[in-house]
Symmetry: C2
Subunit: 451 residues, 2 copies
Amino acid sequence: MQRRLVIVGGDAAGMSAAAQARRSSKPETLEIVAFERGTHTSYAACGLPYLVGGFVTAADKLVARSPEEHRARGIDVRTRHEVIAIDPGASTVTVRDLDGGVERSERWDALLIATGAEGVMPRWPGVDAAGVFQLRTLDHAAMVEARIAAGARRGVVVGAGYIGIEVAEGLLARGLSVTVVERLDAPMGTVLDADMSGAIAESMRAAGVDLRLGVSVEGFEADGGEVCAVRTGAGTIPADLVIVGLGVRPNVAVARTAGIRIGDAGGIVVDERLRTSLPNVWAAGDCVESRHRISGASVVVALGTHANKQGRAAGTVIAGGEASFPGVLGTAITRFRDLEIARTGLGEREAAAAGFAAYATLTEASSRAHYFPGAQSMRIKLVAERGSGRLLGAQIVGGAGSGKRIDVLATALWNRMTVQEIGEMDLSYAPPFSPVWDPVLLAAGRAAASR
Amino acid sequence: MQRRLVIVGGDAAGMSAAAQARRSSKPETLEIVAFERGTHTSYAACGLPYLVGGFVTAADKLVARSPEEHRARGIDVRTRHEVIAIDPGASTVTVRDLDGGVERSERWDALLIATGAEGVMPRWPGVDAAGVFQLRTLDHAAMVEARIAAGARRGVVVGAGYIGIEVAEGLLARGLSVTVVERLDAPMGTVLDADMSGAIAESMRAAGVDLRLGVSVEGFEADGGEVCAVRTGAGTIPADLVIVGLGVRPNVAVARTAGIRIGDAGGIVVDERLRTSLPNVWAAGDCVESRHRISGASVVVALGTHANKQGRAAGTVIAGGEASFPGVLGTAITRFRDLEIARTGLGEREAAAAGFAAYATLTEASSRAHYFPGAQSMRIKLVAERGSGRLLGAQIVGGAGSGKRIDVLATALWNRMTVQEIGEMDLSYAPPFSPVWDPVLLAAGRAAASR
């Protein structure tokens, strides 16, 4: 008998699940239908700032797989179709065709909710003025592009988190003047501890960004419906173009209404096998909560890596196989121009909040042998448990070659290593690649000595 | 009462031990004397190819700490002093002053042997001709430099291992024509499996190296005492300058004569605390054997990282503290121009030889999101245990950003992870740094699917 899998949302998690389920099940045994309210599937949202910046030269490069390609692989994708209700009792969803306006009921045997996240957009006065954007979709990127083409020269970015600093780099690269307004006292203030963010602020200012820290946006001014300024608690900033990057929150309205359990962090609660609180209903991607492997907390981390892994695991499970999603460490990386910024695990405050007796050490190190051309300095912060020396988290800010070293520390963290053990590891060394004590070893040795 | 630590050899291991022992013990309780037969201490031998290549602009940049600096820190370093005999019964060494020729007996309470390694140099006919060099010391580098300054234009490198390819890059950078003669069928043939070395040969040839594989050197021809050609089993190659890079073997003559146990791999046998078979005698660095953490074998791996770690541990132990050296994975990295080459653990043949039911997978991956400018391709080979999927080794060859990923796999290997577990890890992702599935995750997933 043929089962029917309905997927709500056709981006990373949804389509990874679809592809994996398709690989595992023949069309005769499993029909797969995915509803996507937008016009694209499987695109790299994380590439959008680089599309705006002109580093990525065409929007379609960000599309990993088009609806047509999915269809050719036996997945019935219907774009511009929005699932507006789930009826768990009847095992149906109500789907609206956004072009025709028609609503239809579609039955499912298995349902995967992959509704993603939506950008946080406060209802500031004037927020609907033309030229005030988020950057969450290819359509947003096209609107920003059009505005630059139409002569926008003064860009204001609201928020100095991941999206904020990436967009600031992009707008600078396009020749705009850029002001970044951040409510906190430091860029990346929710990502890094305060003693790690100084170099980012310096680098942004050195690149010409007018970085306004500790400043809150109060609204926007428009002229003929077009944004012309950002009003803040510390004055008004002229603007032809505003991009708001204040992070995201899970899209859970439809799931909530259907009675699916939502967690304290605002995401759909799933178990390791991506099952929701309702039978035969799974969820994956930016809309779910994941277990943080160090704090044990249930957290929302909207990141393509997790969406892909969760989608793949959900697809396997739905098709009858064995798979699970083992949780997150909160590993992340970005850059501002040449400055690389990365973290994993818990920051110092987060570790204390999670109940650890934590301490932290800062280490300055070089990406290469000090005598080798191109050696870049970096700062590594390790957070560890006092006494045991168990690693709890790490942060890196530095030049080329520094950021990806976070993966070594993430791997150590995954394995619950102590800083003493990390300092003894056999990591690679040659003068163009590291000093004889790799920065990771150096930082771990420092932390081990301080425990 | 003051103890006396005598150190034989004033390079990485010896002087790391001295510095660590000095940090742990006051001069009143521990006198530290180091004898070094050369004129330098603590220099970065691994930087020599880059000094020859002109990437490092002055020889003294390679000296981490001079004899004077060590003396200023309370370590009595005596350069141009060679230890020619150890008398364990009397707890003395016989030291020859290489300038005066005088021999003296020096007593010790603790003895550390850090005699390093010497380059393998077959007794080929003509090998003593001027212009045939090894590249093991700053003096060697100065001789090569002098020869280039005197007009050498045709360089021949014997051996395509680490030193061989690094020196080939260096001589090319100096404008010499370069021929590399390698007995095996592939460059890096003792380092990588055959299916990983193709890109290296291609890259060397594309850069203009005349790479002669499967060719053995038979001797050298000289003209007026100056080398003018290399005779091989496949013809004669004109040469103004020859550098022989055939690896190293431990310097253990003095230790062996003293009755200290030497292992099957040719190095001094030490335990985890760097103790030799004789009481109060320690050894560290390139002259010792280390335990390979995957094969369990006792191996010689002459590398600055281990020398530094072993020296530091020996210094701690000798000063009465607790420390140990936990063994090696055989992690290593190098490059030929833009091509990065790295390995850790066991290769496919090595794993079979060590008794594992091993299998291997090859994965082609991109260093960045495929749409991001500068994305470089890489090839990752994983060797794992059939059934369990336990990782046994990894090799990476690829463009910028690929090589240092070996450290993630080395960390996984250190923790005895399976490829399934590795594929689930939370590694960092952003388009300038990796595809959404980092190459390491991709390779692990591939290996997990094949187990």
